[in-house]
């Protein structure tokens, strides 16, 4: 119980820190602003003669993609915290690892929700043709919550599996590849059949579909696979990822924490210094 309470306050402190220093603020605002600029130029372009504007399709998709990127920040932060000894410090503290993980989920999820708001709020004014209502807000909430449950454990698994911040860079490649084919920038129905199958395994596609279902008028469903928002399938796929992740992540995280010691942190630090030098 204590670990949850301390973990929560730990997450809130980290969240506040990430919104009160220059470098982090830039990373919070840079991508949303670039995306908004891209949306601005897309706003009058039409998708394949359907009368639906590309910018309208893209905003909810980007929202879903950004939410899925929480996976990458989770993984990066775990690796960084392992490299600088934050995790070892948690291990040296009673109930520290548990509170650390709670704190990490709070700060990553909190940062993500803030980032989504930074994109969505101006986006609603910039892009025409969205259907924003109480229902869409509710859909958005369950899609994002389920999406975070599905993707944050995957991020934790990746973060505990990769030994160094440099290896972390490699994690980004498959994630970027998944994003490219996940119907974020171009509807999935316009892709070749086999790519559609691959894309529909990834949680990123389903989070994008879910956010589109929340924010787009019902008429736009014609560009989706099967011309349906497929809410049941969304719940099934994201739910399956969440269950899998929540089963596997604690095992890997425990193993990762068990292996931490002063010497393992020192070895990694030396390697990191060699890279710099």
């Amino acid at each position: 119980m204590t670990a949850w309470r301390i973990g929560w306050s730990r997450g809130m402190i980290e969240l506040r820190q990430s919104f009160s220093n220059g470098a982090d603020l830039v990373s919070h605002f840079l991508w949303p602003v670039l995306m908004l600029v891209a949306l601005y130029f897309l706003r009058d372009r039409e998708f394949a003669g359907t009368g639906i504007l590309l910018g309208t399709l893209a905003l909810p998709s980007i929202l879903g993609m950004n939410a899925a990127m929480g996976m990458v920040s989770m993984s990066q932060q775990l690796t960084a915290d392992r490299e600088d000894g934050t995790l070892l410090r948690a291990k040296a503290t009673p109930a520290g690892v548990q509170a650390y993980l709670v704190g990490k989920v709070v700060s990553v999820a909190g940062g993500l929700i803030a980032d989504l708001a930074i994109l969505l709020v101006p986006g609603l004014f910039l892009v025409d043709g969205l259907a924003f209502s109480l229902t869409s807000l509710l859909t958005l909430v369950w899609v994002l919550l389920l999406g975070l449950l599905a993707t944050l454990p995957i991020g934790a698994i990746l973060g505990s599996a990769f030994p160094s911040a440099r290896a972390q860079g490699l994690v980004q490649l498959p994630v970027l590849a998944m994003i490219a084919i996940s119907g974020i920038f171009y509807p999935l129905s316009a892709l070749p059949g086999w790519l559609q199958v691959v894309a529909q395994v990834s949680p990123i596609y389903w989070m994008g579909l879910g956010t589109r279902s929340a924010l787009l008028p019902d008429a736009t469903v014609v560009v989706e696979v099967g011309e349906s928002w497929r809410h049941l399938e969304t719940v099934a796929v994201l739910g399956a990822w969440a269950v899998l992740g929540l089963l596997v992540a604690p095992v890997l995280l425990r193993r990762m924490a068990r292996r931490e010691s002063g010497s393992s942190v020192a070895i990694r630090r030396e390697k990191a210094l060699q890279r710099v030098g």
Partner: protein
């Protein structure tokens, strides 16, 4: 204890009593950090029996962990946190383990003052100098008022003034608060200043152990005597330098010139001991 096929610790046996300060002394690679990591429960041993505060560290629970303080060789964590913020936060983990006799945690401001960081209390950790960071690490190590404190190479990179202040702090923890302290160092001077007992480790073996005085007697037994007769230089190592010199004068009388007697020093003995062990 072994890594792969190489044993890194052999027959390292010792006991530390409550309130005692024990120094593990030895050159780099002697096995000091490995020993201390096994005791902290951060590393599994391949053989042998270990009990720390009545518990096998391999199976220590959170309540056991709360009675320990750990200061590792180097920390770089929590760079974005501020000094007071981090100490106050880390203190909260220990609050459930307060007892009638032990107030837990230590008040953050009091602790900051104790380690001399009051003027840095609201600064971010990444802006601290090496010595300030080290003192904060010690503060974090004792924020839960541990019964047993591990200090791994605590003063590496300290200037003389910082080292002096740090030694005073460690002695205060031991005498006023009866904290049991286990520290590693490769500095003999530090070990003999701080420790009630010293354990000399080299290549994973205990070469000698005892109080600084005992060690001097045990391993630094021999004084060095130099003299000249008719221009020829002589040198002798002896445990009984006074008797040896008396004998020298009885035999050669006034012919003995340039007599020098150098008392055995713990430092020479330590270097000889560690050198032999290599």
């Amino acid at each position: 204890m072994r890594y792969g096929a190489t044993d890194v610790l052999h027959d390292v046996s010792f006991a530390v009593g409550p309130g005692e300060v024990l120094a593990l002394l030895g050159p780099n690679g002697a096995g000091k950090t490995t020993t201390i990591e096994i005791l902290e429960g951060f590393r599994m041993r391949s053989a042998g029996a270990v009990t720390v505060l009545g518990v096998d560290p391999a199976h220590g629970d959170e309540a056991w962990r709360a009675r320990l303080g750990v200061v590792l060789q180097s920390w770089r964590d929590h760079g974005k946190w501020r000094v007071r913020e981090l100490l106050a936060h880390l203190g909260r983990y220990y609050a459930p383990y307060a007892t009638a006799t032990t107030v837990r945690p230590w008040d953050a401001d009091e602790l900051i003052e104790l380690v001399g960081l009051t003027d840095r209390a609201d600064h971010k950790l990444k802006t601290l100098s090496g010595g300030q960071r080290r003192r904060l690490d010690v503060a974090i190590g004792i924020v839960g008022r541990p019964e047993l404190l591990f200090l791994d190479e605590p003063t590496t990179g300290f200037d003389p003034a910082a080292r002096y202040a740090f030694h005073a702090l460690v002695r205060r923890l031991a005498t006023d608060l009866h904290t049991t302290i286990l520290l590693t160092t490769h500095d003999l001077d530090e070990a003999s200043k701080l420790a009630d007992r010293i354990l000399v480790l080299s290549d994973g073996r205990v070469l000698a152990s005892g109080t600084p005085d005992e060690l001097t007697r045990q391993i630094a037994g021999r004084d060095e005597v130099r003299w000249r007769i008719d221009g020829t230089a002589y040198e002798e190592l002896t445990g009984e330098s006074t008797a040896f010199v008396r004998d020298l004068f009885t035999r050669y009388g006034d012919a003995v010139q340039d007599l020098e007697v150098r008392r055995a020093r713990l430092e020479d003995a330590y270097l000889a001991l560690v050198g032999e062990g290599r």
